[in-house]
Amino acid sequence: MSTLWSNHRGAHRAGPLVALLLLSGALLASPRGPAWGQTAAGQAIAARVSTPTAGSQTFAAVTLPQAGGMENADVDAASVINTLGAAGLTSITSGQVDQNLVSVTASAEAADVNILNGLIAAKAVLALTTSYANGTTAASESDGSTLLNLVIAGVPYADGAPAPNTRVALRGVGYVVLNEQISSGDGVQSAGLTVNMIHVYLLDPLSGAPSGEIVVAAATSTATL
């Protein structure tokens, strides 16, 4: 079971526990800043597929170095037969621990997205998260995230960012969560946000058990001061 899957389920069923785990994970996995407790963590993945047939494949993934700075990754095209097609995949993350403020931004984007042989299509997908903490206030936001020309099962959706955690059933396949958002932090010392713009949950048609997932444009930022 993937981390993203766990996060989503956690957001619905065990929010506080998962939030704590997320925060703990961020603290453990993220680079240490110049003082204890100061962290700037960012991660962006343009696309990721995890299915029994395709295995686990990740396209254009970056992680903010411990020392901060800016990292980016590009992939011209992603193709997983019968599962995912996309072009122009780019991920960027930047941030730094400062004496007075920690700021992290992560963005993941893909164009000409085709999921499950056209069941889901989009012209452009962008996940953008920003987190900052200044010692007295910490906040995250996803402004700028967008979906253009999104069509699901033949139904077109308006351009822009759907309401957070918009769930759409996919008959015989599972379901998709649009603009999936998973928050963390206490809003004072720390804040974190993961945005998965398109997160397809594949379910076994007989048992209903999770059988895989497809994520397009996943961005995570976490700031702690």
Partner: protein
Amino acid sequence: MKNGRTRARVPVLLAAALLSLHCSDAASPEHQVSRPSAAVAAAGDPIQLDQQNGTYGSGTFLIKGFNPTSPHVGDAILATIFWFGAPGGVTGNIIESVTDVLTTVPNTPVGNKYELVEFVSDGTISMATYLATNVQNFPDAAAEPSPVLAVRADLKVPVTNGGIALSAWIGVAGTMSQALGEHRAASGTASPPFISPTIADPGAISLNPGALAYGVSLASPPAGVQGPSGWTLIGIGNDAVMKNDDEYDARFTVSPSGGTTDPQWSWFFTGPGVWLASVLALNPAPTTGDLTVTTSTSGENLPATDYTVTLDGSVSRSITTSGTVTFSALSPGPHTVALSGVPMNCQVAETNPANVTVVAGETANVTFTVTCSAPPPPPPPPGPNDFMTGGGKIGGGREFATFGLKASPDGGKFKWVQHCPDGHRSASAVCARGKFAFHGTVTPGSYAQGARGPNCRTWAGTGTSKEIGAHDFSVQACDGGERGRGVDFIEVTIDGYQNSGYLTGGNIQLHGRRKS
């Protein structure tokens, strides 16, 4: 202008498509012609003949109604008045005024303004054409027995032989200055041996796309006539009283693509004669408007570089600090105009961005008044620990850019992705080249204080892109605080490509010094 040319006689052909009616009923003093049905045209529709009529008469005024049906409100009306001889010895224009009335008893004044376009006379015959645009204040397309619209010409001296020809046009621009194009008139004589027709030619005029050319020729004595090739007949008239005096022929053509036209009437005189001819252009109702942006800058420490004017967040143009830029052919309706590139020591007096409404056929104006003052002492140059990180997005909708950056005195990295989901758009300031991803390396030593303020930094470098190749680039980024959206600013130049704006997502962070 006197003009009289002859050319080889050609067969007289009146195309079956002629709109109107050769009405030369000598027994009727008033020629009544049929009217094409015409719906009210929407902006952008071609000019159409709505109604037309004409009559002959005598006395101190000439009047004719658009019976049996009035034109539409908003039409342009052309009234051409003819008279024979020099009544009262007056050889100039004897028309005192042209007005319109409703055919009530007594007549009800309507009040539209008719202005003289062209008067021409050779001393024997005379004609004058008047124009009223966007006619109002009468029942739209009223049919008899309701009162209909009539046009009346009051004369300075009575005439014994006169006439008036009316035509109403749908789709003409609504003001005189917009509607009236080039116009000309000429007169001439027929000379023996009268074997070839005499050419009545007012001269060539230019036509804007979609413009109407209206021409009329008057000859004395009446003679056979062949109108300009390809023009549509509106009316032709003579009367019993004036049977031996004169005859007119009025025609029109509409030019979808514009150009020039030089109408010529072939009058088949059998003896000495005279002719008049005039032609005028009427422009179609505009479908777009213009917007003029004016900047005026005063004070101290005036900016050394131009500002940028951005229309509707997508089209940007450079404008001098005290100058004018015009955006043409804009769709009518609300627009926004933003002025950027104003240094921190200068303030814009007006609301910026400005909201403005563009009206078709008109020029809207936006003025930005900028006052500059002496700037505070420049901040110290960036120290060795000063650096900037950031990432995010500017723009929105279907044209936006995402970026990531780290820049310091020692160098750094810069990533810029211009998104253009609709592909190359030559009219777009940022998507003229289409989508591209650019990865740059900051040149050590180029990192410096930015001109936009103490929390701004600039740097330069070189980079590559699979789509647009290798280029130099420069950046100015400003940390306006948290959240970065709406307060942090970035300005990017990659050779000919420029994009700038406040962040619509993300954050830019200046590190290593306490921000001002």
